[in-house]
């Protein structure tokens, strides 16, 4: 017993210091009118911050923007990632180098990725719009109605490798016998993929989608590097909006209440996803 808790104690102590206490403190902040510019103790304002968060149209707009972003980005990452994982699985030649190269983007600091694409996709000096003009297409990547999809595209560039990494491992852990049995039974490649591979891969797919979605929800660097929320408020994601409320407008109390609303939504999504998963497993 003494050994067990002696070993655990340092972890718990650090965890409480860096997660537990700040979390409670944030909860306290969310019930105050704390401003970074204030001196002295902040006043408790009860649920006023939550009330204003819930009635704040910009907040919900940012929510919608983020949701769209997550769906588009993660959806594309799933499809492309699965295709690449299936291709890589059969790849024999220069196997390790190919994999390392294709996985590299996920290790790059997101701000660098954001700035790279800001440069690359720039309407005047960017290489890609220039290439497109060469084949007669004029496309402003950061124009109205397009900027959010461009951000999602950046997300796809950086994070499809993560999908590939997980799905590839999932594919390689699928037992060979069912696949071979299906081939002996006369199934074509598409049939085998749909009826054998995909169901066997399902648990990994769910984990991968969940991990990616939760991470995409936090998107900040791309917005900061490229559009800063524009044009208008089209690309104002939830994390960026919270950052602005807290840092640029110094309203920490309100920003904290927003963060907690986001946390509540995230937890709900996780709980619902796991319920579904459990139900499917038992069915």
């Amino acid at each position: 017993m003494r050994f067990k808790y002696g070993m655990l104690a340092p972890l718990i102590a650090v965890f409480v210091a860096v997660v537990g206490f700040p979390l409670l403190y944030a909860l306290y902040l969310s019930f105050t009118d704390y401003k970074l510019t204030d001196r002295g103790a902040p006043d408790i304002v009860g649920i006023a911050n939550y009330a204003s968060t819930f009635t704040n149209a910009s907040f919900w707009e940012a929510f919608g923007v983020t949701a769209l972003y997550v769906v588009v980005a993660v959806g594309l990452e799933l499809v492309i990632g699965l295709a690449i994982a299936l291709s890589l699985q059969k790849q024999k030649w220069a196997r390790d180098v190919t994999r390392s190269m294709l996985l590299a983007p996920m290790f790059i600091t997101p701000i660098a990725v954001g700035l790279t694409f800001r440069f690359l996709l720039n309407d005047q000096i960017g290489a890609i719009p220039e290439l497109l003009r060469g084949i007669g297409i004029n496309y402003d990547f950061f124009g109205p109605g397009r900027a959010l999809f461009t951000l999602a595209f950046i997300d796809v560039w950086q994070w499809t490798p993560f999908m590939v990494l997980l799905l590839l491992a999932g594919l390689e852990s699928i037992p060979k016998q069912p696949l071979e049995a299906a081939r002996v039974d006369g199934g074509g490649p598409w049939y085998i993929f749909r009826r054998i591979t995909l169901p066997l891969l399902a648990p990994v797919l769910v984990v991968a989608i969940l991990l990616r979605a939760l991470d995409a929800l936090k998107v900040f660097e791309y917005v900061y590097a490229t559009t800063r929320g524009g044009p208008g408020t089209e690309t104002q994601t939830i994390q960026y909006f919270t950052y602005q409320t807290g840092i640029q407008f110094f309203r920490l109390g309100e920003a904290s209440s927003m963060a907690f609303v986001v946390l509540a939504v995230v937890l709900t999504v996780i709980v619902v996803a796991f319920r579904r998963l459990e139900r499917n497993r038992s069915a």
Partner: protein, 271 residues
């Protein structure tokens, strides 16, 4: 002669397309770091006489200091995480210490929106007059690196057969001796992967750094973002700075890919 199927052709084509898609931005940035400002404005330029002006500029701009600060933050964070994380993860995995609550805590902490924790860190830093130093950044980075490293290690420790440590105890070691001399060496590759992964997470984070230390103690991503904001756009220098940030972690990533999957999925996928 084997028949090459349409599927195989599609497969190769997809991989080539993906490779180009991945490599093109990196190569373009590498080229840009050797261009003059006027050359940078010409998107068609591929062949040119390289200049090192951007590199000289960026190296004298204090970017290396920022990289150094990022390294300090990353190493400190990882060191603390590995020390308290490995001992904790061991008893969580082998003795069910802390029950499911601790386990769940480690998982849940990974999905906390950074916006929840950043403001408490900021106000505490102000209160302790530690704002714009590395201390609050290290604390903030611990809040996501520690749970991830611990989560990885729980999985790795669970994979070590229990009889191994029991054997060591019968052979004459105390519980701690068995952990230190026998179990820990078994998870060393996993520990290394977790440490490198934790380091890249810390190295790549900008959100906390931007809010907690935006000025003289700016870490590398914040410094890189600075090339874009405060001094007007210096594309060449920015490109060089990006490369400085990217190259070490991409090299590190090469060594940890296999272990990474096992760690991230916490055993949902066997690698």
């Amino acid at each position: 002669m084997r028949r090459v199927s349409g599927l195989a052709i599609a497969r190769i084509a997809l991989l080539w397309a993906a490779a180009i898609f991945v490599l093109f931005p990196m190569i373009w940035i590498a080229l840009a770091s050797f261009k003059t400002p006027s050359q940078l404005n010409d998107p068609n330029l591929v062949f040119f006489a390289p200049t090192f002006a951007s590199w000289e500029n960026v190296l004298s701009s204090g970017i290396l200091d920022a990289a150094g600060r990022s390294a300090i933050v990353g190493l400190t964070t990882v060191l603390i995480s590995v020390v308290v994380g490995s001992s904790g993860a061991y008893v969580i995995a082998k003795y069910r210490a802390g029950g499911t609550a601790t386990r769940f805590g480690m998982l849940a902490a990974q999905v906390l929106p950074p916006a929840v924790l950043v403001f408490p860190f900021l106000t505490m830093a102000y209160a302790l007059r530690l704002n714009d130093t590395l201390v609050p950044v290290i604390f903030a980075h611990l809040s996501f690196v520690l749970p991830v490293v611990t989560w990885f290690l729980i999985g790795f420790f669970e994979a070590v057969p229990r009889s191994l440590e029991e054997q060591a105890r019968v052979d004459g070691f105390s519980r701690f001796g068995a952990f230190w001399r026998v179990v820990l060496p078994q998870v060393l590759p996993g520990l290394g992967a977790a440490a490198i992964f934790g380091f890249t997470l810390s190295w790549n984070d900008m959100f906390y750094g931007l809010i907690l230390a935006p000025g003289k103690a700016a870490i590398l991503p914040v410094a890189i973002a600075g090339f874009n904001t405060f001094r007007g756009v210096q594309l060449g220098s920015m490109s060089a700075a990006i490369l400085i940030a990217v190259i070490p972690v991409v090299i590190a990533s090469f060594f940890i890919q296999r272990k990474l999957v096992q760690g991230i999925s916490g055993g949902a996928v066997k690698s």
